[in-house]
């Protein structure tokens, strides 16, 4: 299979990076060693194992995202522009693996799901029109900025010229979200039901339904798959397969599902916006920009945007690990190609980022926290956010292209 058909740009060979191979590999090894030392140092401190684990999970997540180009925007564009379903099947694989993993963990933690309790920290949010609106805005932000928040973070490690502006826009979007939160909360969110499928169907029922829906989504896509390579006997060099060649997306998906389960078991669900949101809230509160109270917000699970007291937080280290590992992976593969931003990239990054931030704040998470971690946990909110996100993405992409504003 040629990896390039999945990529936003054609995947470069190992020798096409701008830096000499030895320098790239040495830098990547240095970053990897730095991450390892940081995790070791953290794990030695009292209470530091949570931080060390967060850094490690973040680094693994960043590595997987970069290697497999696990990107919701790319998969959707491949699907509608090229009828190439491999990226979409990768996301379905992630959801399937993660749903099975979560069921195993949740069954041990909360043997009876039928009561009033929800599993701790799982991303199960209120299901209502505001969540749909948040998903549409988030999808529109993806179309405009060219990625979701998680993918912008790993693209930061690849030297993307758009990602920094998209992430600044995201922070601004979060502040905007805080302004509109109280109105939306009182108008709708407060009364929106929090639907957790295992409470109504049991773990087995919820698992069966989720896997059946995923299978139903996968069935038509499988027929679009290009014919399998006729000569699979070609010898694979293991190091090259792991560090240089693009991973097949299904492999990335299985890795994301496994990582999601392990991260939930030990630290918390995968999510990339808690830190961005928390720091935005802290900054905005420091500048007296925020409403005095954000009604009900801190009572919800999800990528909670609690104000941070500590310098090092689990989600902050997760993000740091993600970006650093993605940089190392990109360097090793010859995919680190920084570029000066063009005016269009700055504008699209900021505007798209604001929509991403507003959507992620209002939807209590993004395509990682609300969609992936939510669906894995059996939350109806994950499904609604996902449907709305892809709807918003499609509509914005088509409209933008018709107006010649988007590529």
């Amino acid at each position: 299979m040629t990896a390039s058909s999945l990529s936003e740009r054609s995947a470069p060979g190992p020798s096409t990076g701008r830096l000499p191979v030895s320098l790239r590999v040495a830098s990547a090894a240095l970053i990897g060693a730095g991450l390892l030392i940081a995790a070791l140092r953290l794990s030695g401190d009292p209470g530091g194992s949570r931080l060390a684990l967060s850094l490690s999970f973040g680094a693994l997540f960043g590595f997987v995202l970069q290697r497999a180009r696990f990107c919701f925007f790319c998969l959707w564009r491949d699907l509608i522009d090229r009828r190439d379903p491999r990226g979409a099947l990768g996301v379905l694989a992630a959801l399937g693996a993660g749903t099975v993993g979560y069921s195993v963990v949740l069954g041990a933690w909360l043997p009876d799901p039928s009561g009033v309790r929800l599993p701790p920290d799982a991303h199960i949010g209120p299901v209502g029109p505001v969540l749909a609106l948040a998903g549409v805005a988030f999808g529109a932000g993806m179309a405009i900025s060219g990625s979701c928040i998680g993918a912008h973070l790993y693209r930061l490690g690849e030297g993307s010229p758009t990602a920094p502006f998209a992430l600044v826009g995201t922070a601004l979007g979060f502040v905007l979200g805080f302004f509109t939160w109280n109105t939306l909360y009182l108008a709708s969110i407060a009364e929106a039901p929090v639907i957790w499928l295992p409470r109504h169907l049991g773990y087995a029922g919820s698992l069966f339904l989720t896997l059946a829906v995923l299978a139903a989504l996968a069935a038509p896509l499988l027929r679009w798959l290009p014919p399998a390579d006729a000569s699979p006997s070609e010898r694979v060099a293991p190091l090259r397969a792991v560090f240089v060649d693009r991973w097949p997306t299904w492999l990335g998906g299985l890795a994301v599902g496994a990582l999601g389960t392990l991260a939930y078991l030990r630290v918390g669900p995968l999510g990339v916006t808690a830190e961005i949101g928390g720091r935005s809230r802290q900054a905005a509160a420091g500048l007296d920009l925020l409403p005095a109270r954000l009604e009900g917000l801190d009572g919800f699970r999800g990528c909670a945007t609690a104000i941070r007291d500590a310098i090092l937080t689990p989600n902050g280290l997760f993000i740091a690990g993600l970006v650093a590992a993605s940089l190392a992976a990109a360097l090793a593969a010859g995919e680190f190609r920084p570029a000066l931003p063009k005016r269009g990239q700055i504008g699209r990054g900021l505007v798209g980022g604001i929509l991403l931030g507003w959507g992620a704040m209002t939807g209590l998470g993004c395509s990682v926290g609300t969609l992936l971690s939510g669906i894995m946990a059996g939350a109806a909110s994950g499904w609604l956010f996902g449907v709305a996100m892809f709807a918003g993405l499609t509509a914005t992409l088509l409209a933008g292209r018709r107006l010649s504003l988007l590529p």
Binding site: P46, A108, W109, L110, P111, V116, R117, P119, P120, D121, L265, R266, V267, G268, A292, I307, D309
Partner: protein, 318 residues
């Protein structure tokens, strides 16, 4: 004789008496240990994990702490929902409490070990709720709670135990452990000769602060109840989270005039940290003490009650 020496002596005696039957010896030790002290050590708990008449219950405030690793065999109780009424401000009512205790498989003769995060604040609060339904002497705290257990790198489990439900009857609540606004008001007005022990920080006690930073529940006046003395709860614990020795505790409280000769009322902001001091005074020292769970969020919001505000803070809420 220290608790640990006692434990060692008992184990030695039991081992001498029954050289071949370890489990029986351990059971005998558990029986005696659990009768002697309101606290159990981490060593003791680890040695008695398999005891059939033991129920271990975690009451932590951080969500997910129990699930990601608890003392093997421990069950989970959520203080925000299981131990309180969720609509009115009150401890769980008789029906709700009985249902919880049955689910936990606790009978009147079961030894219950409570523990939790945050230096057992919420576990002690649990012990105070249990006490109001007559579960007093058989309810113990794991000394230091999660803190020492984790620091000693003892085994943690992520599975929930299967426990056979008990037949604990619906029991009326007894208010002997609980002080109400009228009680503290009587002390404040010097109509009753009791001591109020306020365990908040010195800045809250003086009125410099209405509440610690970041907490939601506030009062609209600052200061303390007239007739209170201030001993922050943390003064009763060692750096490893265990309680100080009985002699040290007696001195600590005697310094502010609390020696058990007259009734005491413990108080804080919402009545939960003060449960920790309630446990120390009532269960460890055996003093007559009630916990005022209304605490400053009730008293500092009440109209027309006397207040001492040393800092002179003027409420300026918007």
């Amino acid at each position: 004789m220290s608790f640990r020496t006692l434990l060692a002596a008992r184990i030695a005696l039991a081992a001498l008496a029954f050289p071949m039957i370890g489990p029986a010896a351990a059971h005998a030790t558990e029986q005696k240990q659990s009768q002697t002290s309101p606290l159990v050590s981490t060593e003791w708990l680890e040695a008695n994990l398999a005891s059939p008449k033991l129920r271990i219950v975690e009451v932590s405030v951080e969500p997910g702490v129990y699930e990601r690793g608890h003392v093997p065999g421990a069950q989970n109780v959520l203080w925000h929902t299981d131990l309180v009424e969720t609509v009115s401000r009150d401890i769980a009512g008789p029906e709700k409490f009985a249902a919880l205790i049955r689910r936990l498989g606790i009978d009147r003769d079961t030894t219950v070990i409570l523990y939790g995060d945050n230096n057992n604040w919420f576990a002690a609060w649990g012990a105070w709720v249990f006490a109001q339904y007559g579960l007093v002497d058989n309810v113990k705290l794991l000394d230091s709670g999660r803190k020492k257990w984790e620091a000693e790198k003892r085994q943690l489990d992520t599975r929930s135990p299967d426990v056979a439900a008990s037949t604990f009857p619906v029991t009326p609540v007894s208010n002997g452990q609980r002080a109400r606004l009228a009680d503290v008001l009587a002390v404040a007005r010097k109509e009753r000769n009791e001591t109020i022990l306020d365990i908040r920080s010195p800045d809250e006690f003086s009125g410099k602060l209405i509440a610690p930073a970041g907490v939601q529940e506030l009062a609209i006046r600052a200061g303390h109840i007239p007739g209170s003395v201030n001993v922050p709860w943390a003064k009763a614990v060692n750096p490893d989270g265990t309680l100080k020795s009985v002699a040290e505790l007696k001195t600590l409280y005697a310094d502010v005039g609390i020696d058990g000769s007259k009734p005491i009322i413990t108080s804080c902001r919402i009545g939960e940290r003060s449960s920790h001091s309630w446990f120390v005074l009532s269960r460890v020292l055996g003093y007559p003490v009630r916990n005022y769970d209304g605490s400053w969020t009730e008293y500092g919001n009440a109209v027309g009650v006397p207040v001492v505000n040393l800092a002179g803070t003027v409420w300026s809420g918007k």
